[in-house]
């Protein structure tokens, strides 16, 4: 039996994940709602006095994204663990790297979906103004790169948590300290993009490059660590 090519393997695994998520629709909706609730909570905390600064909006965006993203990721890996599908996949003739990349991409898709909810919520509730198409393009690029970095770490550790009793608390504990550079770059980069002056756009470019480097290193780390870490399953 000839096994499929590498990109095809990734695509098949990714499509499987997407179909499973779509079927369990209510879980996605709950996570999206959670994201909106977080933005609401922040608006209670920050609004009412002086209008919130652009820095605050940038921060809220990334905190809301990472909190709701973590929830969604946690849940989706939990569901996989209950069905023991990960072990089945590890036994199947798929390349480990393909498995890791498909997990990374499915986590990223989930978080991009959350962005599609959080960003408009911020525009509505916080009066965030992004500007012209160029600014939107930059923002979307920044969000994508940040999400990829976050997902690279979360997919690795989410898959390797195994049957630990306290795994729900353990995942955030493991992932958040490692993704601090992403959150930092994301928040400061968003601030720079929203601010819009040539000087700040220079900074934004620097943050984007930083995220590219981080993402590359994180994905490399994930590719090499995925198999040893999942080996115990």
């Amino acid at each position: 039996m000839t096994s499929a090519s590498f990109p095809r393997q990734v695509a098949m695994l990714l499509w499987k994940d997407v179909r499973v998520e779509l079927r369990a629709g209510e879980l996605i909706y709950a996570t999206l709602l959670f994201a909106i609730i977080i933005v609401l909570l922040f608006s209670f905390a920050f609004l009412g006095g002086a209008p919130p600064t652009v820095e605050v909006m940038a921060g809220v965006l990334w905190v809301a994204l990472s909190l709701s993203g973590m929830l969604g990721i946690s849940r989706s890996f939990e569901r996989e663990r209950e069905a023991d599908t990960l072990r089945a996949l590890l036994l199947a003739p798929v390349e480990r790297s393909a498995l890791y990349l498909s997990k990374l991409l499915s986590v990223s898709l989930l978080m991009l979906l959350l962005c599609a909810v959080v960003v408009p919520a911020l525009c509505l509730l916080f009066g965030m103004q992004v500007g012209d198409a160029g600014a939107w393009g930059r923002l979307i690029l920044l969000l994508t790169l940040g999400i990829l970095g976050f997902a690279a770490v979360a997919a690795l550790f989410g898959a390797s948590l195994g049957r630990a009793r306290v795994r729900e608390v353990l995942l955030p504990l493991l992932v958040y300290p490692l993704v601090v550079p992403v959150l930092l770059a994301g928040a400061r980069g968003t601030y720079a993009i929203l601010y819009g002056t040539p000087e700040s756009l220079d900074d934004a470019a620097r943050w984007l490059k930083f995220l590219l480097v981080f993402d590359s290193l994180a994905v490399m780390g994930g590719l090499w660590l995925f198999e040893p870490l999942c080996a115990t399953e």
Partner: protein, 121 residues
């Protein structure tokens, strides 16, 4: 194989992007602080740094309720004392656990010895 290929691609990418970035970060670190765009320049350069680069009155501008006259002696003594405390606590805990474990090992080895009639290595 794909793993190696992907990794080498990513690594070359990192080197191409990261090195110029890193050298810029170093030079940026020497620049005056600018955390907020368009914010009025904070009066950070009020006191001139001395030969060692230390600026005595360099606390953030809004921290005006800090007393100056804290005696340094207790601070140094506390810091030093803490080292001893931390190290002794670590040594104590480790030694205690090792002792307990070695006692249990001896017990278990004894039982095995009696049961099988030969000593485990």
């Amino acid at each position: 194989m794909s793993r190696l290929l992907l990794s080498s691609l990513l690594l070359s990418f990192v080197l191409a992007t990261g090195l110029p970035l890193a050298s810029r970060a170093d030079s940026a670190a020497g620049a005056p602080p600018a955390p907020a765009y368009g914010a009025p320049a904070a009066p950070a350069a009020k006191a001139v740094p001395d030969s060692e680069g230390f600026v005595p009155d360099s606390r953030p501008a809004n921290m005006t309720n800090v007393e100056e006259g804290i005696p340094a002696g207790p601070l140094v003594a506390t810091a030093y004392g803490f080292i001893w405390l931390a190290v002794l606590a670590f040594v104590g805990l480790t030694a205690r656990r090792t002792r307990q474990l070695e006692a249990e090992i001896a017990q278990l080895a004894e039982r095995l010895n009696q049961a099988t009639g030969s000593s485990p290595s």
